[in-house]
Amino acid sequence: MSYPKVLTKRMEDHPADSHTIERYAATGGYAQAKAALDMTRDELVDIVKASGLLGRGGAAFSTGLKWSFLAPARPAYLVVNGDESEPGTFKDRQLLERDPHQMLEGVIITAIANEVHHAFVYIRGEYPKPARRLQRAVDEAYAEGYFGKGIFGSDYDLDVTVHLGGGAYICGEETALINSLEGQRGEPRLKPPYFPAAKGLYMMPTIVNNVETMANLPHILDMGVEAYKALGHGDDTGTFLTSLSGHVNNPGNYELPHGITWRELIYEVGGGIPGDRELKMWIPGGASAPWFNPEDHLDLPITKGDTGQAGSMLGSGAVVVMNDTTCVVKAAERVVRFFSHESCGQCTPCREGTTWLEMILRRIEAGQGRPIDADLLLDVSDNISVGLAWPPRQTTICPLGPSAVSPITSIMRHFKDEVMAHITEGACPFAKTEVPA
């Protein structure tokens, strides 16, 4: 089954040079950015609102609506969030390495729509190659007059600065990212204000959008709102990129239409489980998302609404597949360890809670769990995210703490017997996760 390609079409058709400005220009490149110069802010915001484009970083918030919140003070800034760090996610890396101009054209469109004259692209520090590729694209675009003084021969000035992060997942949270870009510790800011569009970088109105979100914009202007919406499924418009990893035969990034089922994704796109093993569970939307299992979820369509109703989210588009030799305690420990390591430490429930969740899981996995530990996991989790509900409530400034609760509720609801077996038998019942050849 093949699906229509939009964001990944150029790199598929022209693998050797999809990153160059020559190839980009030869395939319609920068025409939409130029056209945007003749449009008003209201026109552009209305088009993006009407397109139904949802942010592709994880929160799935309406991009057009975010833009419409921009406060009137100036200067306004644009910060592109390329701090892709959600475990399982590697789609923005491909967009940056293989088609950086597509993203940059989105930057120009967004800047014009939001009266921005200085944009920043914040790329995680562990992505030097994507950053180098993007910087060369930026240099090419400056040389053509697409950035700098009077872009495209107009009287509109626009600069762009590529900024490398320092290896902190939390900087993907937009207010932490702004603090980091200001040269501060990457700690999320207290809300309100809820949106950087009110007060963001240097306390000025700021738009923060994800790399993939940017990459969609030239296509929305090019094909028009109706054609863009028709690519999707109901409220989930356009295509989306999913990063597939773990125990599947064909891991990788795939551009897909919303509305296909998890069965199609895992068994057709992903080619099924290596060694014809059984599917045990999967993470449907990055490490922050509660896990799905085949009995309840395999035939659900992949949409924001269906996934949300089933108690999880599409998040960053990362799908991590686990076979039947995977120990749920060890898998949960690895995900919780991530959040424990990445907690910024500002809020006590997250700083202390994630640390204790990791330690409790580790002792259960080592066969040293106590009978009370199962309840203790839920109790600590409840202190981080009261009621263990979905969407999660939070006792913290940002959603990182509640994200660490997702693997706990996932294993305690679906695999409690397996967790308890670790405790009663005093050992992990799994010899070892089978590594596919």
Partner: protein, 206 residues
């Protein structure tokens, strides 16, 4: 008087010109300081403070927040092996043990000669190419325990001036997250990311 070389000082001026406020240059300048000294020294952080007009304590508070600013002596080759969920499912813990065993360096430490540092990293965005590893943040995908040992032996013996992602992928890598398609022509000379505007990308890595 700056403790930095002339070329690093001119880099610092170029970087400062890219931001509306000086303090935003703290993170890039910290990478410059690492490139000057091989790791992030107190003197380096104090120099950054001078450039951006804040106190050394403020710079240290920023540097200590981020894992990539190494405030202790770090080997010429920083081997960061991902052991997050997707890599763990594909056997990263065995690869880490092989690298630790072959190098004699437990994660979080550096060998006596200052050649190799080993650390386990949280997700580095190469999950489709698990098990993933970086040397000075230059990526290798599809690493196995045996290839991990070969990597360590090569670093110790060949001691390249700079490491290049395509070269290492060719020598030691396996399955990739996606078709890389295009070669990278620069490499990383120390335990910090190779990025042209920071002057840390070394030409002709091979």
């Amino acid at each position: 008087m700056s403790i930095w070389s002339e070329s690093t000082q001119s880099r610092a001026k170029e970087i400062l010109a890219k931001y509306p406020e000086k303090r935003s240059a703290v993170m890039p300048l910290l990478y410059l300081a690492m490139a000057e000294d091989g790791w992030l020294t107190i003197e380096g952080m104090t120099e950054v403070a001078e450039w951006v007009g804040i106190t050394p304590a403020q710079v240290q508070s920023v540097a200590s927040f981020y894992t990539m600013y190494k405030r202790e002596p770090t080997g010429k080759y920083l081997v960061s092996l991902c052991t997050s969920i997707s890599c763990m499912l594909l056997g990263s813990d065995d690869v880490l043990h092989a690298i630790e065993d072959e190098s004699g360096v437990p994660h979080g430490e550096t060998d006596d000669e200052g050649v190799i540092s080993v650390e386990h990293a949280e997700c580095i965005g190469a999950c489709g190419g698990a098990v993933a590893c970086q040397v000075n943040y230059e990526l290798i995908e599809g690493l196995t325990p045996e290839k991990g040992r070969e990597l360590v032996r090569w670093l110790k013996k060949a001691r390249p001036d700079a490491v290049n992602t395509d070269e290492m992928q060719e020598l030691f890598g396996g399955r990739r997250s996606f078709d890389w398609a295009i070669q990278s022509d620069v490499g990383a000379a120390g335990p910090y990311p190779a990025f042209e505007p920071y002057g840390t990308a070394t030409e002709d890595a091979k």
